[in-house]
């Protein structure tokens, strides 16, 4: 009897082991889902759909984008963290979830990058722009800083929300120039950008994709971009550092993540596939339309960037005293 049980156990163990090895070898053998912490339509959702479509063609399996909006991204990110670590549930997140939230919600954040996730790769990144009404009084960042210095806390700055990466970028520029702006939050990037063009606020911090319609219509001027590197969208836009905001360097990115515990061969495979997808000309073109540049950096490099940006923003949040809780 004992022998039979023993034999059965070893057979079971063997099948389990081979099944495990096989799971990696013939991955993927069923549809993959990518969770997105936003409603359909935003840049993270669009990134997931572009990558998902190509991934599906290359892997021969359906890739389903599942939107789990709400709760500052907590809902989607915790769902991804708790999902089985088999490579069939992935997460497309943006700087907000892994750079901003840990800084802003330090006490209550229910997930942790290193504990819960493998960062696979950075998918796309873009600078934010500091835009001002084109026929308004402010032509340069220095003009703006001078006005804010004369009357602290009265020069309005539109952003897509309190504790958004745009908000923090704006605070960072203010801190580095020694001035305080009046933060005016909106619900989303497009209304925040339109508010600049209507003159509701004198300037705002917007993603390139949100501000582009207003910029192209000639209603909004770009006084600075938030990255240290120039953007191919328009190389004539000055960087914040050139415009006088020392040290400021912050991009808004989207990236692909997998729950911790996914076998390394699967992570490697996903990285290789996605990195190759990001080099396809039509994919590059699609991201460029939204003002983004494709990523594709190695997982370790990506993790380092996230940590560096997270530490940077923690000090901004403390210095600017941002407390949404």
């Amino acid at each position: 009897m004992r022998l039979i049980v023993g034999a059965l156990c070893s057979v079971l163990a063997l099948t389990a082991a081979t099944a495990h090895a096989q799971a990696q070898a013939d991955y993927p053998n069923k549809p993959i889902r990518i969770l997105v912490p936003f409603a359909p339509g935003g840049f993270v959702d669009v990134a997931a759909r572009i990558v998902g479509q190509k991934l599906s063609e290359k892997l021969g399996q359906q890739v389903i984008v599942e939107n789990r909006p709400g709760g500052n991204g907590f809902i989607a990110v915790t769902a991804a963290a708790r999902a089985p670590a088999d490579g069939y549930t992935l997460l497309m997140a943006h700087s907000g979830e892994f750079v901003v939230n840990p800084a802003v919600f330090a006490a209550t954040i229910p997930y942790n990058l290193e504990r819960d996730f493998h960062a696979i790769t950075l998918v796309s990144q873009a600078p934010m722009v500091l835009g001002a009404k084109s026929d308004g009084p402010y032509k340069t960042l220095a003009d703006l800083a001078a006005a804010a210095k004369a009357k602290p806390g009265t020069v309005g700055m539109s952003t897509p929300g309190t504790g958004s990466i745009n908000h923090l970028a704006g605070e960072w520029i203010g801190l580095s120039m020694g001035v305080k702006f009046l933060h005016v939050p909106y619900k989303g990037g497009a209304p925040a950008a339109v508010a600049i063009s209507t003159g509701e606020v004198p300037f705002g911090m917007a993603a390139v994709s949100s501000a582009m319609p207003q910029i192209k219509a000639g209603r909004v001027n770009v006084l600075a971009i938030t990255t240290a590197k120039k953007t191919p969208v328009d190389p004539s836009w000055p960087t914040a550092q050139e415009a006088g905001a020392k040290d400021v360097d912050l991009s808004i990115w989207s990236g692909l993540f997998a729950p911790k515990g996914v076998p390394q061969p699967i992570v490697d495979k996903l990285y290789a596939e996605v990195a190759a997808i990001l080099q396809m000309p039509d994919v590059k073109e699609k991201f460029a339309a939204g003002g983004g540049e494709v990523g594709g950096m190695k997982p370790a490099e990506f993790t380092t960037q996230i940590k560096r940006e997270g530490d940077q923003l923690k000090s901004i949040v403390q210095a600017a005293n941002i407390k949404p809780e």
């Binding site: 359909p40 909006p69 192209k216």
Partner: protein, 500 residues
């Protein structure tokens, strides 16, 4: 004759076999998902998005737009037949539409909704074609204070709109406003009344609330009636199309609804919803006798249905010209355009005229398709009511659950549905209309957002609300409306006092 040549460009894009086919697919799918309670255009457009990667931008937008306004047509079908508003803008349609269905006049109700929507769609498409650029600048003139005052006006209108007790209507609006407080505060980012549930961070689910309070509560109420009341509802099917008399009776309601819808649809944020509520309120005040609003007056269907369809068409103006999405479906369409490498905004009109005018021309064709599709189908929908209730109600419940779940893929929303079904049943028993509550829930958070933003920008000066002529105008109109409700009430109590 610039507009003429533009329309020629538009129709040359829209009247190709491919465009016509995709337009038809769009409106057909739209009608279908509109009829299935709960499965909304957002989920459908999201599912079809990958398909559009392979199409050219004009064709994909023609199809996606068709889904959007097709769903507006279909949404009124469930509002009328089973009292479930699929979209916030068809909430008012339930008031008289469902009563008409109960009286065996579902056919005329559906017919007038389709005809009114077509008339409104035609006019609104023309408005979009003629006035897009100047109208976009009107929307830009609206400052936070103006939006706030517009919404105050809308809310006071909602009180006028309620049938029965004024006190109950006020109570419902206030309850709606209070429920609207749940969620993340835009200004400070503080979570209010979420009790630690991240799913509540975006506020109470509108769809769960509307389906629970209107649809499921009605189902419970019907089951309680033990057959007698339901018999009335199912046995008399009546005529399928509205009679000539009914048509001429509601002619002006359609005109008024279209005008209101076209104007309010341009404003980003809640335009179509406000339009349908405002159209109903105005109908109640100005329609000629005999008035029977709340008990199956056909004009109570004609006006809001024309208004919401006109609003759905004109809401393309801020999307196409400014890149501002006025609702989640529009946000998704902007996403679809961006994937195609097109940045929605003012330059679309000048740089891609074939896209801009093609979409506009296709809207009119789509409306025509919808009319052709819907009028013959009315007979079919009405027959649906003859399905025994014991088979119909489980289907309604299942579709409600699927619909609520697919919005956020979150089980928590189903619990919200259950809770609001219970609350809705209690309110029904108490004789409280849920329509003002819904308006309070939707407008409350927006009103707060705009008021606080207006005050933030003015550095706390409340006079900003009177400084702008638009804002001051709406506040004065709201005050006048209040007086008009108050005066007859004062008169009535005085008369009663005199008698005693």
């Amino acid at each position: 004759m610039d507009i003429f040549s533009n329309l020629v460009i538009g129709f040359s894009v829209a009247v190709t076999l491919k465009s016509l086919a995709y337009c038809f697919v769009g409106v057909f799918l739209g009608t279908l998902i509109g009829v299935l309670p709960g499965i909304g255009p957002v989920a459908t457009v999201a599912m079809l998005l990958p398909l559009t990667f392979k199409l050219d931008p004009a064709t994909s937008m023609i199809m996606l737009a068709g889904i959007y306004y097709g769903a507006q047509y279909g949404g009124s079908t469930t509002a009328i037949l089973v009292n479930i508003p699929g979209e916030s803008s068809s909430v008012v349609t339930t008031l008289d539409g469902y009563q008409m269905a109960r009286q065996g006049r579902a056919g005329p109700a559906l017919g007038i909704a389709a005809i009114g929507s077509f008339a409104a769609g035609t006019v609104a498409t023309l408005i979009v074609a003629l006035f897009s650029p100047p109208l976009a600048t009107i929307a830009l003139k609206f400052q936070p204070a103006d939006y706030f005052s517009l919404m105050v006006f809308g809310l006071i209108g909602a009180v006028v709109l309620a049938r029965g007790s004024l006190r109950k209507a006020i109570a419902m609006v206030v309850l709606g406003l209070l429920l609207g407080l749940v969620g993340t505060d835009v200004n400070s980012g503080v979570m209010r009344f979420t009790f630690g549930a991240p799913a509540l961070a975006e506020g109470i689910s509108f769809v769960a609330l509307a389906m629970g309070m209107f649809g499921v509560a009605e189902v419970i109420y019907n089951l309680e009636q033990r057959g007698q009341d339901r018999q009335v509802f199912t046995s008399k099917l009546g005529r399928v199309l509205p009679s000539r008399a009914e048509l001429s009776f509601s002619k002006w309601s359609i005109v008024r609804g279209t005008a209101l819808g076209s104007i309010l649809g341009i404003l980003p944020g809640g335009g179509a919803l406000l339009a349908s509520f405002a159209a109903y309120t105005i109908e109640k005040k100005v329609a000629r006798a005999p008035r029977d609003f709340g008990n199956g007056d056909i004009r109570g269907v004609a006006a809001p249905e024309s208004a919401n369809n006109a609003g759905a068409q004109t809401s393309f103006i801020p999307m196409l010209t400014l890149g501002i999405p006025s609702n989640p479906t529009m946000a998704l369409m902007i996403g679809a355009l961006m994937i195609q490498g097109i940045q929605p905004g003012p330059e679309v009109m000048t740089q891609r005229p074939e896209l801009f005018w093609g979409i506009i021309a296709s809207m009119w064709i789509g409306n025509l398709f919808l009319l052709m599709l819907n009028l013959p189908m009315i007979g079919l929908w009405v027959k649906l009511l003859a399905v025994p209730y014991r088979l119909l109600f489980p289907a309604i419940l299942v579709f409600c659950c699927i619909g609520v779940f697919t919005i956020n893929n979150n089980v928590f929303d189903l619990f919200q549905l259950v809770a609001f079904s219970g609350i809705g049943y209690v309110l029904l028993k108490l004789g409280c209309e849920p329509a003002p509550l819904v308006l309070g829930l939707v407008l409350g958070p927006m009103m707060e957002e705009y008021l606080r933003r207006a005050l933030l920008i003015s550095l706390g000066d409340p006079l900003v609300l009177l400084a702008s002529p638009i804002s001051a105008g709406f506040l004065i109109a709201a005050a006048a409306l209040l007086v008009s409700i108050a005066v007859p009430a004062i008169r009535a109590t005085r008369e009663q006092a005199m008698k005693e």
